[in-house]
Symmetry: D2
Subunit: 336 residues, 4 copies
């Protein structure tokens, strides 16, 4: 059986996933694509031998589609997700789940009502071999109790459309999710530090770099350097400090060169390059789950909701520089 995928949203990440389905993923085929830009939908449908849709709901309900793959902009997510739930079709949704925590809550409610998970969220880092190795060494107990985590999230540059808030909403979300994954616990407070010294490479409306400090339930202190115009690469760092020992993401390359550059290892230049294996694996995981008939697994709507709650606190702190608490409701049983 080949899972027939309907893919919504033909922007950068949408096209990247389309290529992935074509080249890498086994057991699935994109049979329908949807974009409000008719020309884009037509062109890509033709290129990939799929049917073009301009209306998401029509595509979702089409019998050409077994599963829905959402790469549209955040504000469109909620309606598309709920439509897919209604159509009884499994959903993969790129992050963020929804722009606000309140909207995410509606999706949670729908899954709770269904009594099972219906969606996999695109927090791809959980499928990254580096982070998985980090989690493995934490879980092994080799490090002892964890006390501190130092993170850095560096982009070579960001487009003009990148707003001040996106440092929290778009960039820090990944660390928020991955810290919860690594430690199996929630974040309970956020504080944003704005260093006075800013890079002149950033557009004037930005504050770059930023330091965000999280505290988890058990008291672990996490600092996250968000530096989205770092110039030199897409560079994700994570160092976990335990009572016995420390573990950290290392360089992510398997070869090194000796040249006029010195003894060097390449640093990724984009999210797509750094997390290519993670993207491949998260999508294959979604497809394999469908094949096996199992309930959705991996990052959930609940993860998306909780991350949105933490972001809300972060945005408040971005304004006033104070520490803001995060109140997280009881986790429903379907997300055990």
């Amino acid at each position: 059986m080949t899972v027939k995928i309907g893919l919504i949203g033909l922007g950068m990440i949408g096209r990247d996933h389309l290529k992935r389905f074509n080249d890498i993923i086994t057991g699935a085929k994109v049979t329908a694509v949807c974009d409000i830009n008719h020309a884009a939908a037509d062109a890509i449908a033709s290129e990939y031998n799929a049917t073009a849709f301009y209306d998401a709901e029509a595509m979702i309900n089409s019998d050409q589609v077994d599963a829905v793959f959402i790469c549209s902009i955040g504000p469109a997510h909620k309606a598309q997700i709920l439509a897919a739930f209604n159509a009884g079709k499994p959903v993969f949704c790129e992050k963020p789940l929804t722009p606000t925590a309140d909207e995410s809550r509606e999706i949670i409610d729908a899954e709770v009502k269904a009594g099972k998970r219906l969606l996999q969220l695109g927090f791809m880092r959980r499928f990254d071999p580096g982070y998985q190795a980090l989690k493995q060494v934490i879980d092994s107990g080799e490090l002892g109790d964890i006390m501190l985590i130092h993170c850095a999230h560096r982009n070579p540059s960001v487009p003009e459309s990148y707003t001040l808030e996106m440092a929290i909403n778009d960039s820090a979300t990944h660390e928020i999710d991955i810290v919860r994954y690594l430690l199996n616990e929630n974040i309970i407070s956020v504080r944003v530090d704005k260093p006075r010294k800013k890079t002149r490479r950033a557009l004037p409306h930005l504050q770059d770099p930023l330091i965000v400090i999280f505290e988890t339930e058990s008291g672990v202190r996490v600092d996250d350097e968000l530096f989205v115009n770092c110039h030199y690469g897409y560079d994700i760092r994570c160092e976990v400090i335990g009572e016995n020992a420390i573990a950290a993401l290392n360089e992510q390359q398997l070869i090194a060169t000796r040249s006029l550059k010195g003894h060097a290892q390449h640093i990724a230049q984009s999210c797509m390059e750094r997390f290519t294996t993670a993207y491949d694996r998260e999508v294959q995981h979604f497809i394999d789950n469908i094949h096996s008939g199992k309930e959705m697994s991996g990052p959930s709507s609940w993860d998306g909701y909780v991350v949105a709650l933490v972001c809300d606190a972060g945005l408040a702190s971005l304004k006033d520089g104070e520490k803001h608490d995060v109140l997280i409701p009881q986790r429903p049983a379907v997300y055990r």
Copy 2:
């Protein structure tokens, strides 16, 4: 469609592949297992819900089997491969293709007669992300013309059954194949150096370590340290020296720790651990090729035959310490 796999030979590597089909591989299922040890065949067939066979030919010709996966001992390979060819079923065969080059030649002749490739050989290193990155940087021209390659092939230890000749036939085969892959050219001579100093960890019938020196068609000099009782790990090294720069396999871990051991990265302890991704990928490649209806690709019978010719020269040099030339016939068109 799920490809029905008949797997022959339930030794260590056979069982490893069986687990792999069960846990990792998509699009295939082991439906039949075969071993001359009836008890082993029965027990494993029962565990994996497959049919037990004790006779390879019977299993190969059974309609429970779409494709044949050969993990038996080397001397059994030729007959099983030819039987599968006759049955029109695609073959995956663990290396060596056959114990001698002459036997391999018969398989070549059968594929030439068929006018297409029918077999994928288990030189898994070609699917290793590290070696692939090394090949990519060589092919990019960044290193300039290649002049030297330094390899090391280190095992923590070997069983009592490991013979002196296996350093060539079993261990060096991997470097022989991968050098051909990296450089796109053949090896034309072999010399084996036997250092006077041997590890006391090796059994008395062995000469460990050994240094094997290959020369390729274009004149590249390759040295390969074979050290199969190195005690500390399964450690595969490869450094490629070009006119402009050097590239080398780096540590293969994505995390590092700071502990009482110092700043450390784990070294794999077995072939299975070091090349787990490569094994997964080579098998998935085989299955994907079947699904797509394409001709077999990846390492071929021809590769197995040529490696066997190089090994013959290596074994001669192991005896007399002299340089031995390798005569490689014209490559048939099916292996272009």
Copy 3:
């Protein structure tokens, strides 16, 4: 000419310097040692063929002594330094200059009155090849403007005598000084963050780890992880983030091993081991300055005074968790 050294204080660091004078330093000899513990003074004087003193002032004024080397406890420093100034003898003083900034001010005043520097302070990190390489790359402009510095100061453990305040007064002092050295600017505020999660290896009166956040005049944000019971080693980290690139202290070993520990580099186990070259160099620098007849150079009383001012703010923040400003007077011309 051999400089005759009178060394005061025969504790751990005093004995370490004594051994250094004996084994490494050229152009100087310890001719007199002084300790209020008569037995210790006698024993060591006998071992090193020096004269024993029990009274610092007597030794300072003895004509057996050309220069004074102070390794006594902090509260004793001021009187000994001023006595040496009066005797017209150059002084090397271990840090801290004095326990409080006010006392340090008296020493500053004495040097200002003398119109020249008379003392070298024991901030040995400025002589460390690693930090010097870091300063060189910062000064080269290769990193661009600096915006952030991430430090870690980790000890395997601390003795029972180590107090909560010493995390600031004793440990963080080194980062306070070195940040000023690296950036050529002062620190203007301090905030101490106390993570809720503490290591169980620390004695109950400690808060370990701590995070101290400094801001410099130009707005650089520096965070310093102080973790003095980290168990695994004496590990000093420093990462400097600029607009163009990042530079960091690397592992400080020149060899690496492959063993059952993996691919590993040793981490120092003590301050003495980590900074052995720095200690050797700072002392040789002091002696060479005397030989050359030049004014004292290297870390000064002023550096000691300013670090004491920053520590005062840090201690205040350790109590209330708030950010505290540091007011630094105009630097006198002798410390240009």
Copy 4:
């Protein structure tokens, strides 16, 4: 006391040492310089406030000189060394001791007759912190018995004056000496392998790279890649393989950068840069020995003689490609 140095030979290495005496070395001063090029001698004497000599013997016998520092060309060494011995002045001599083993023998005989060592030879690598750390881990027994050593000796390029033989006589000499130092045993045979593939960066009269294979008394096999037009840096590698574990020279930098070059560590670009600490230390060692009134220590005439014997065998192998044995006479007692 300041040792008055008479330095002979104002070429590249001579001037480098002159600068070293001026900037780094304590306890010595170059009071006389000698070169057959009168203009060079006059200019440099004037610059460094020393007396110019054009005749080595005159300078050696001048009472302006306490110790003789020989940086002249190899063929001049023997006469200058013997003159200094006659004058009763300690000698530092740059390598090679003499161009041929026979000439070296005369120097040995003179020292044997004197009943003590009178000379320190310029094998500076023995003073390199990296090699010293390597020796320390070998001597600790941590690696177990040593069986193999892999070396590489890479220069970015060589001048037109560099001959084919200098790969042995000038470059390999360093590995010959350091292997003896690391293992405390002699080399008993040499074989030179000439790879067919050569770098096009080398001048036509060279064979670059070359592989030289040494065997030591106990049977350790050492291979040395000599690649003197490697383009990218002055890069010295050494990996020591023991029964239990492996140790190797690591990158020799204490900082690393993250930039558009990737994660990189600088590689030295010249011998002077790579071994600057070693040069400083070997010269200070020579001066300190004079100050202490001790017999000369460090690399000896005997080391120079034995290395010359190994080179003779290497040059023979360079011609015929065969393995050549090295016959080493009994070591006289003065070189115990």
